[in-house]
């Protein structure tokens, strides 16, 4: 199961990628999509929504189960990936690439450092 070194992670099995300035990209990990099975529906927030770390901002559903998505950091939703709403299977086929979910403009860029690194996340998944 791949866990890219350059990303940060949460215990809720999301990844966070540093982008330009205060903008970060968020998705779910390969481990998470494997646990879910085939994703058939994604519910994403409106652009402009303000979230606090830990807030539920959406849902991913497979035929078997549903998982809430939690904001990894405080910030504002500045982009959502409409491609995954149309083709939820992108989350299974390319969870770290085309299967990204939202972009946040975080209130504090240094807050990224509070998240798990790849090694720590691998300990969470026991892999």
């Amino acid at each position: 199961m791949s866990t890219p070194e350059e990303l940060r992670y949460t215990e809720d099995h999301e990844w966070v990628a540093a982008g330009e300035g205060e903008t970060v990209r968020v998705g779910i990990t390969e481990y998470a999509q494997d646990q879910l099975g085939d994703v058939v529906f994604v519910d994403l927030p409106e652009v402009g929504r303000q979230v606090d770390a830990g807030d539920a901002f959406g849902e991913v559903e497979s035929t078997k189960s549903v998982s809430e998505l939690f904001a990894p950091l405080d910030g504002e939703v500045v982009a959502v990936n409409n491609a995954v709403s149309e083709s939820p299977e992108l989350i299974n086929s390319d969870p770290y690439g085309e299967g990204w979910l939202i972009e946040l403009r975080v209130d504090d860029a240094s807050s990224l450092d509070s998240l798990l690194d790849a090694d720590a996340y691998q300990r969470v998944t026991g892999s």
Binding site: D34, G37, D38, V40, F41, D43, E59, E61, S62, T63, K64, V66, N92
Partner: protein, 359 residues
């Protein structure tokens, strides 16, 4: 516990889930691809977690007529029947298929989670009859081939003429050089076969079926797609739609209770007084993508009128489908209700079952 095919599944890269204490394949690659394979070609399932209990002897038929709500004495040798085991209050202990193998021999196939209960009840209920009860579950593997291509696949390997094997019938057969009980039964809404195989030959039978199925598009298929397949076919799952709190009448399956059979049977008196249930099982369809799921509430004009027992986005139909118990006055097809899907109401409509029927 692990089935005789566990290493085969590991080799195929399966993901596993716990089911009634068994480590079972939940999917091999994609449950949607597996689901589609069963609808359009064929799927290969390991169902060895299910229980096989043999009841034999001169009074085997009488013992089963007493133990179950159905009239098993009326089943001809070589045929099978869907029936239920009820307790004294009429509550359902298990729903199951019973094969009559010979005049004096039956095979009772129990759900994995209920094998111990079914075996213990059969022991107790057969006590006053000249019949013996042998639990063969630990030695028996069960492999299912389901889908429109299944007859072509099994037909290539079996020494039997499948055109003579009707739905809900079984015959002893040789498949790929191994003795099996070959049954034309299943839980997917498709044509299909179930092969009861001694554990030691399970891997070999799985292998020949895989090879024969490959040109037909057969895929190994896990429990995830088995659940969406049976849901589309409107078939109840014990633990979701059936329980000891419910009678066959609740589930709309009162026809399996044979009050006209001679002699008493366990649950008879109670069932006779419980023919008019206070809630009934219905099918629901939704229009969006958010599926109502097990345990969610159903509302009519804000009033709680029932509960979802199973639900998913139907892979074949592309919209949400669900089974639910509702008060009888809300059970009419066409009735508009609302499902509370994690705090957001989703409109649903009562429909007649099944959701999917093979053409």
């Amino acid at each position: 516990m692990k089935t005789a095919l566990h290493e085969v599944h590991t080799g195929l890269g399966a993901s596993f889930t716990d089911f009634a204490g068994w480590s079972m394949p939940v999917r091999y690659s994609s449950e949607l691809a597996e689901h589609r394979a069963v609808r359009e070609a064929a799927g290969l399932f390991d169902l060895s977690h299910m229980g096989e209990i043999e009841v034999s002897g001169p009074q085997a038929a009488d013992a089963l007529d007493y133990a179950f709500v159905g009239k098993l004495s009326a089943v001809k040798p070589g045929r099978a029947r869907y029936t239920m085991l009820c307790d004294e209050t009429g509550g359902v202990l298990d729903d199951l298929v019973i094969y009559r193998l010979a005049e004096d021999r039956y095979l009772v196939v129990a759900n994995a989670g209920n094998v111990a209960v079914v075996a213990a009840e059969l022991d107790a209920r057969a006590r006053d009859f000249d019949a013996r009860v042998d639990d063969r579950s630990a030695d028996t593997a069960l492999i299912a081939v389901q889908g429109p291509a299944s007859a072509a696949i099994v037909g290539k390997l079996a020494d039997a003429d499948l055109s003579e094997l009707k739905y809900y019938a079984s015959i002893p057969a040789v498949v790929g050089g191994h003795d099996v009980l070959l049954a034309r039964t299943g839980y997917t809404g498709e044509d299909g076969f179930e092969l009861y195989v001694p554990n030691e030959h399970a891997a070999a039978v799985w292998r020949v079926l895989t090879e024969a199925g490959e040109p037909h598009g057969l895929l190994p298929a896990g429990l995830a797609c088995r659940d969406t397949l049976r849901l589309e076919a409107g078939m109840p799952l014990y633990g979701n739609e059936l329980s000891t709190e419910l009678t066959p009448f609740h589930a709309g399956l009162g026809r399996v209770v044979k009050f006209d059979k001679p002699g008493d049977f366990v649950g008879r008196a109670a069932l006779d007084t419980r023919r008019e249930p206070d809630r009934v099982l219905v099918g629901l369809t939704g229009s969006g993508r958010r599926a109502p799921r097990h345990g969610y509430r159903l509302l009519a004009d804000g009033e709680d009128v029932g509960e979802i027992t199973s639900g998913a986005l139907s892979p074949t139909l592309g919209h949400p489908i669900a089974l639910a118990y509702v008060r009888p006055e809300f059970a009419e097809p066409g009735t508009a209700l609302s499902a509370d899907v994690r705090g957001r109401p989703e409109p649903v409509k009562v429909v007649s079952l099944p959701f999917y029927q093979r053409s």
